[in-house]
């Protein structure tokens, strides 16, 4: 079992550019959540996808968007990059439980640096 995988590992962009990050969930999982972890801080919830739809969203602007594919993998897109978007972006997968709770498994993250 490969667990949750993310690509790329590192990425450097300049202000105003757009970026796409990718995540493959753990085998058997159907739900993907994305978190942003700024340096020295705890992760912050961006959004969650299930059945190719955004189910929950945190307090992030519309510049952050996502997609989930039929094979449950997911992409996180960020437009018009700002210096403050520099962070470790974590993907977590789980089984959909509706309003209940289920363990989330995290990937190693993608380190995004915006210059």
């Amino acid at each position: 079992d490969a667990g949750v995988t993310q690509s790329p590992t590192h990425l450097i962009k300049t202000r105003g550019q757009q970026v796409t990050l990718r995540c493959s969930p753990k085998s058997g999982h159907d739900t993907v959540s994305w978190y942003q972890q700024a340096l020295g801080q705890g992760p912050q919830f961006i959004f969650q996808y299930y059945e190719e739809e955004e189910r929950q969203r945190g307090n992030f602007p519309d510049r952050f968007s996502g997609h989930q594919f039929p094979n449950y993998s997911s992409e996180l897109n960020v437009n018009a990059l700002l210096l403050g978007d520099s962070a470790l972006y974590l993907c977590a997968s789980s089984l959909w439980t509706g309003t209940s709770i289920n363990e989330q498994f995290f990937g190693p993250g993608t380190r995004l640096t915006v210059l």
Binding site: S33, Y35, G42, S94, T99, E103, P108
Partner: protein, 114 residues
């Protein structure tokens, strides 16, 4: 909305000494509580969780945490730490009936010295 406060940003401790990492939360509804560990350049790993039942929960590597509803706390403890426990520890909360959205604290860096 829920929030999580980890009172100590860094905790230095000598090997084989006991340690407590403090976590307090704020929520108007029932919550589930978690501790995650993050080693350098890695993602988060679940250490232990409280969903219901016994308020004392244990991990396989000697950590334990106790849910205290009256004090809204979920402190993490270990009676004897090892060098390999050096890592960043995050407390997280999820509100009941709110799905899998986690709210994390700012983290506590545990530094175990020989």
């Amino acid at each position: 909305a829920q929030s999580v406060t980890q009172l100590d940003s860094q905790v230095p401790v000598f090997e084989e000494a006991p340690v407590e990492l403090r976590c307090n939360y704020s929520s108007s509804v029932s919550v589930y509580l978690f501790w995650y560990v993050q080693y350098p350049n890695q993602g988060l790993q679940l250490l232990l969780k409280y969903l219901s039942g016994s308020t004392l929960v244990e991990s396989i590597n000697g950590f334990e945490a106790e849910f205290n509803k009256s004090q809204t706390s979920f402190h993490l403890r270990k009676p004897s730490v090892h060098i390999s426990d050096t890592a960043e520890y995050f407390c997280a909360v999820s509100e009941a009936n709110a799905g899998n959205m986690l709210t994390f604290g700012g983290g506590t860096r545990l530094m175990v010295k020989p």
